[in-house]
């Protein structure tokens, strides 16, 4: 297999890094009113959908109203978590100095506390993207998502665990920050988890309180219908977020790396790893917004702190740069990427074949 560092000569890596730095600087210099207007517009739509969804559930005895309410609330939660929450918490709008758009202060509509998530996501995942044993998002500590992860009979349940994770995704994201696998390995103590756990209890009880207690109670005799509606909206958001996120790093041709080959990376090498370790999803403008522009996972991983609306604008240029250096630019429609991820989940439930040569020719061709 072509090693991470063998793809480009040191001079090429440096030049490649400079080109991406220049691209980034051009966008940063251009940030202004249009970016703020955009996110304010999305926020306005999200809040509108949320209020409409909650209101419609007060008429939940009328099936079309219930369905419309659940639809609006699902969309509101998806927008809140993805195009607004994920991106704001990356610091994409910190330059506006607006406290409502501050990465340090924003809190999203999900049970995972923002502060815990920012650490595991912005720091661990975005710094150590796809480095086995470093990036805790590879398999989330429960799945086998890479050949190089040692097989164990536990992983026979891979498809079951993945299905459960998709259904309960917000809870999975919340528990992820407890780093249970590291506690089991003895690398993390329960004492380390006390502050994390405290935040989890506070946040989760508020979220559960509004979705499963207060809003149902307020609708009086409709309480069971409202409860069911809110649960459905949470489920819809969970499945959607799981699908988008798993398509970002786990389709078949996306690469993973070892700690050795990534130690002492230069900026250019870091960019290189982000490109090789991420995959885009093709689709229309509405799809991109609903995915929080994580459909531009490659651009997001190169420049995680640039407002996401800029990713589609620079995608063409990033792709040209990749072509220029003979690098792959993984992309495909959602159904193709999802199918690829599903196959991987099932395949890796079983022990890997002793030699991984079956995937090799394909990879080398693309890299050539």
């Amino acid at each position: 297999m072509t090693g991470l560092q063998d793809r480009l000569t040191p001079e090429q890596v440096e030049e490649f890094g400079r080109e991406l730095d220049a691209l980034r600087q051009r966008i940063v210099d251009d940030l202004g009113q249009a970016d703020v207007d955009y996110i304010h517009d999305i926020i306005k739509k999200q809040r509108g959908l949320e209020v409409a969804g909650r209101a419609l559930l007060f008429a939940g005895f009328f099936p079309p109203a219930w369905l419309a309410g659940v639809g609006a609330l699902s969309l509101a939660k998806i927008l809140d978590n993805m195009e607004i929450g994920h991106n704001v918490m990356h610091g994409q709008y910190d330059w506006t100095r607006d406290p409502a758009l501050s990465s340090q202060r924003f809190e999203w509509d999900t049970v995972a506390p923002a502060e815990n998530w920012r650490h595991s996501h912005n720091y661990i995942h975005h710094t150590y993207t796809n480095i086995l044993d470093k990036d805790r998002d590879v398999g989330y500590g429960i799945l086998r998502m890479d050949d190089a992860q040692k097989w164990h009979p536990y992983y026979l349940g891979n498809p079951v665990y993945a299905t459960l994770l998709a259904i309960f995704f917000q809870w999975g994201v919340m528990l992820h920050d407890l780093e249970i696998e590291n506690v089991v390995k003895g690398e993390r103590s329960w004492a380390d988890n006390v502050p994390v756990l405290r935040k989890i209890v506070r946040k989760a009880s508020r979220q559960v309180g509004k979705d499963y207690l207060l809003f149902p109670l307020l609708t009086g005799p409709l309480a069971p219908l409202t409860f069911l509606g809110n649960a459905t909206a949470n489920l819809t958001r969970n499945l959607w977020a799981f699908a988008i996120i798993f398509c970002g790093h786990f389709p078949a041709d996306v690469e993973s790396f070892t700690e050795e080959e990534t130690s002492e990376e230069s900026r250019g090498q870091w960019y290189l790893r982000q490109i090789l370790g991420s995959a885009n999803i093709s689709g229309g403008p509405l799809f991109h917004i609903l995915s929080g522009n994580l459909s531009h996972q490659i651009e997001h991983h190169l420049f995680p702190d640039i407002p996401a609306r800029r990713y589609p604008q620079i995608a063409g240029e990033v792709r040209e740069i990749c072509e220029k250096y003979g690098l792959p630019y993984h992309t495909g429609p959602l159904r193709k990427q999802l199918w690829s991820v599903a196959k991987k989940i099932v395949k890796l439930a079983l022990p890997s074949s002793p030699s991984p040569t079956t995937v090799e020719p394909d990879r080398q061709l693309r890299a050539a």
Binding site: G32, R97, A100
Partner: protein
């Protein structure tokens, strides 16, 4: 009954907050009308007038969370310019008993320029709670000497108007310095105020023109002898405040709107400064972190640049800094510091 209503309102408000978690009520109310916010403080501009060609006077109605201010205090006012919120400190210059706030802003930079040219009736600005200890003593002194220079008139005028509104029984002298009659702010208002309140005497001093009650920069002769030991409140350019302090001594209260000259040892500076979130790094130049951040291409939020407004507070994640005002060195981990007056001592990492 009256006791029950507020409790019920409070109950409803906390229910609404529980329903609207995690964003909170303000984030929804502001979409209906930016002035409906309950926790944040905003101000609606209700009147705009030009007293001099290079200044603007805004009348601002604060939203419900405004706690009121004490004459002489300042607020941090925020406006959005090309998508970026900018913060500056201004002293309201009306009486503290007025429901609306009045700000007079001289055009001299980005924010003041925006306030002069882009703000109109109906504009909404963000306000902080008032701050600052430049205020009249609660037991009002019998004789009060108010001295101001240029746009430093604002906090001192608030004091004069407040004393007049209280029907202050003693004597007040308001000594205002300006270049000449053309840029003497609040000339008419001060004359009207003096006409209404016999105890108030207004004296206009022109530093660069003739025809005022007094001419030239401040000197002890500008104050009649029996007022030289009065409680004195001064706001204006630094040389004016220094001169007043030197001549009149202990009973002088000042509002430092211009930074005291902090001295920085740039030659002995060592170590590196890292800005964690942006990934920028630079060699420590020995200057305050705010300047170093700006030189490194960052644009951190800030306000006064002199350690009073706390707009530039950021988390220091590693290293030691010296407070340029107090000289105190602190090396606590994860401590919030004011970038504008913190100088790195060796390697420092800031979460910015």
């Amino acid at each position: 009954m009256t006791a029950i209503v507020p409790r019920r309102v409070r109950g409803l408000a906390s229910l609404a907050e529980a329903l609207l978690t995690p964003h909170g009520m303000d984030r929804y109310l502001e979409l209906v009308d930016p002035m409906l916010v309950r926790r944040e403080i905003r101000g609606l501009v209700t009147a705009v007038r030009k007293q001099t060609p290079d200044s603007v006077t805004l009348t601002v109605r604060p939203s419900r969370a405004w706690p009121g201010f004490t004459a002489g205090q300042y607020v941090r006012l925020q406006v959005e310019i090309d998508g970026v919120r900018r913060t500056r400190c201004y002293s309201p210059c009306g009486s503290q008993y007025d429901g609306e706030l009045e700000f007079t802003v001289k055009e001299q930079g980005l924010v003041s320029g925006h306030l002069n040219r882009a703000i109109g009736v109906g504009s909404v600005v963000n306000l902080s709670t008032p701050d600052g200890g430049f205020t009249l003593p609660a037991a009002r002194p019998d004789r009060v000497l108010l001295i101001s220079g240029g746009s430093g008139v604002t906090p001192v005028l608030a004091m004069a108007r407040t004393l007049v509104a209280e029907g202050h029984p003693g004597e007040i002298v308001f000594l205002h310095y300006s270049n000449g009659p053309a840029d003497a702010l609040y000339r008419t208002e001060l004359a009207e105020l003096a006409a209404r309140h016999p105890g108030l005497r207004v004296v206009h001093a022109y530093t660069h023109a003739k025809g005022g009650d007094l001419t030239g920069f401040f000197s002890a002769e500008h104050v009649e002898p029996r007022f030289r030991d009065a409680e004195t409140f001064v706001c204006g350019p630094k040389p004016l405040m220094d001169a007043v302090r030197e001549e009149l001594g202990e009973r002088v209260h000042t509002e430092e709107f211009t930074p005291p000259p902090l001295t920085f040892d740039t030659a002995a500076a060592e170590g590196r400064v890292r800005f964690r979130r942006s990934g920028r790094e630079c060699a420590n130049s020995g200057k305050p972190l705010l300047e170093q951040a700006e030189e490194a291409g960052l644009s951190p939020e800030h306000g006064c640049r002199m350690g009073i407004c706390f707009s530039c507070t950021q988390l220091k994640t590693a290293g030691r800094v010296r407070n340029a005002r107090t000289g105190e060195v602190s090396g606590e981990e994860d401590e919030e510091i004011q970038l504008c007056i913190s100088v790195p001592v060796g390697d420092v990492e800031i979460d910015a």
